[in-house]
Symmetry: C4
Subunit: 190 residues, 4 copies
């Protein structure tokens, strides 16, 4: 089976997720600067989640470059990832609208953690399908970043019960780690 | 006529349906755990419908692998399927928000039944177009799963008038039946 | 310039329009059959508009099969069509929620008329680009259907001031005319 | 890395942005002509933003025709552009609903300016990737339009503090400048 429609469907879902999040930036009724300033926490959580969805799309795009085939298991592993990503708009809005209270920050971390685990599973499913001697396996043998960000998400969830600042710091940190360009795929393709 | 745009359009509609459903998870105004627990029935109905749309996309994807050509009838049979699938967000939200009351559970079953019938018709239209000697026909000659899930949906609709638990059990059962991997297409392609 | 992205973008916009319309089917707060019956006029207008968007997509798909090239003018003619189609959800919801009152039925007709004219312009732009000796020109030389439906829309707008039933009848008629399969493209391709 | 998914993802996001904007045209509860007239400012801002998103899509489409390869930096430069474009629905609705008050008109200009800068950066990133001897570089060496529209946006932001009419005039002017067909890409391809 070819990977074309899996890519197209994932692109579609990610494009909609990223755009739906902006709907939570509710248009204020008055036209003062104050009205905009009040939206700042919601805007910041939108920005954070936009970067995350961007990272996932970017990584998905890179990873799929080396994928030669897909099967039913891969389709479900991918849908599983999309399920958790589809909860981003909800978790983002709840966190932003409640000014980064403990429980919303924890929930955001849970959704992030589940998405990270789902990505891990998708990568693993693809690794098994392509076998240990594939370009895919040699490129994705080291998965340090995945593991570090899963750990950071766990720390974020636990630490937020002390203060939500721990969670927010971890979330920004994860974004920074992934923002650093991934050269493995480009090297392999070159 | 080639099948590319039919796939692209279906992917688009399915991607939007799946993501629109999450909008019914209304962001609560307070930040307590209690607010999240209250959303649980809506969340569960979202999960169920996400799996269903995932199944439809998965089957559509598998089926289209063996499709060699499409015509006007196929385009309309496909649009007919998308119409019923487009009512999933409504039926899902109504069922979740009313804590699985009788009428919403029945309506959910009706939408499911119509979608299942529409899929049946689409498959039938493609069978007729490709002829009895095609790869398509030899792969999709047995349609036991389709028929079983149509029967289960009828049982769900009727049984929900006794108790909605009958309906919900049937819906979960249908999901499980389809979740079991479909190997026919992969075998045929190999 | 190739036509791939024009098709992809149009598919995307049409897929979203068709799915956004369903959001106007507001989830009722109680779970009675009565609540569903009250939604019937909104549902009927959704069904009508779904069929129309389906027709546009279908025709667009057929027409694009014979398109060999596009230019800047075609891109804008296509965007012009998408603009009027993007007003379908608004016009549909307004008509449905006001139980087919005169003004909403007239507005619906205006949007329909503008979309029909936009399609006419798009076809004309493509005709000029491909020249009179092209497959495109020989297939789309007769445009009786386009002209009949433009006339019907004008009648609908005028007649609705007498009674909205004139408008609704015309809208259903236009849908029926276009629903009749278009064989020209398929013949040309064969 | 191939450019296919970057195009598909951008098409998806732009298609959704363009369609989400129409959701701000809230369906009025009564069916009078007056209700429609009251929506006129929101409609005009929708029209303006539709044209802008259309221009961005059109330019993106033209530019990508000459792109031979993409890398991680290009993906992020593209996401950066999409981020600012994703704020169009918010800025459009706020401006329209507040009848072109000073602050909303200024904010609209800021979003426009950031999008124009983001496009500039994306073009620059692609120029560097393709090198000075590429078709891409020879076609996009002159960037007068980009610079003029950035200046017009700055003027719009500043001038709106005197009267919002300055801003609105500039916005319309930018749209007109870009609406004039871009022949460079078509010439290069021919």
């Amino acid at each position: 089976m070819n990977k074309g429609r899996l890519e197209a469907f994932s692109d579609g879902v990610l494009a909609i997720i990223i755009t739906i999040m902006v709907l939570e930036l509710k248009v204020p009724h008055d036209s003062s600067i104050h009205a905009i300033i009040e939206l700042l926490p919601v805007f910041m959580s939108y920005l954070l989640s936009f970067v995350y969805v961007g990272i996932y799309w970017n990584n998905h795009h890179h990873m799929m470059q080396l994928v030669k085939k897909v099967n039913g298991k891969v389709l479900w592993a991918n849908l599983h990832l999309l399920f958790w990503l589809s909860l981003f708009p909800f978790a983002t809005a709840w966190m932003g609208e409640n000014h980064y209270d403990t429980i919303p920050v924890v929930l955001y971390g849970c959704v992030m953690l589940m998405a990270a685990l789902a990505y891990f599973i998708l990568e693993h499913t693809l690794l098994r399908l392509h076998g240990p001697d594939s370009d895919f396996a040699s490129t994705f043998s080291s998965r340090a970043k995945d593991i570090v960000s899963i750990i950071l998400n766990v720390v974020a969830i636990g630490g937020s019960f002390i203060t939500p600042y721990v969670g927010i710091t971890c979330y920004v940190l994860v974004a920074v780690i992934w923002f650093i360009p991934e050269k493995r795929v480009e090297k392999k393709l070159a």
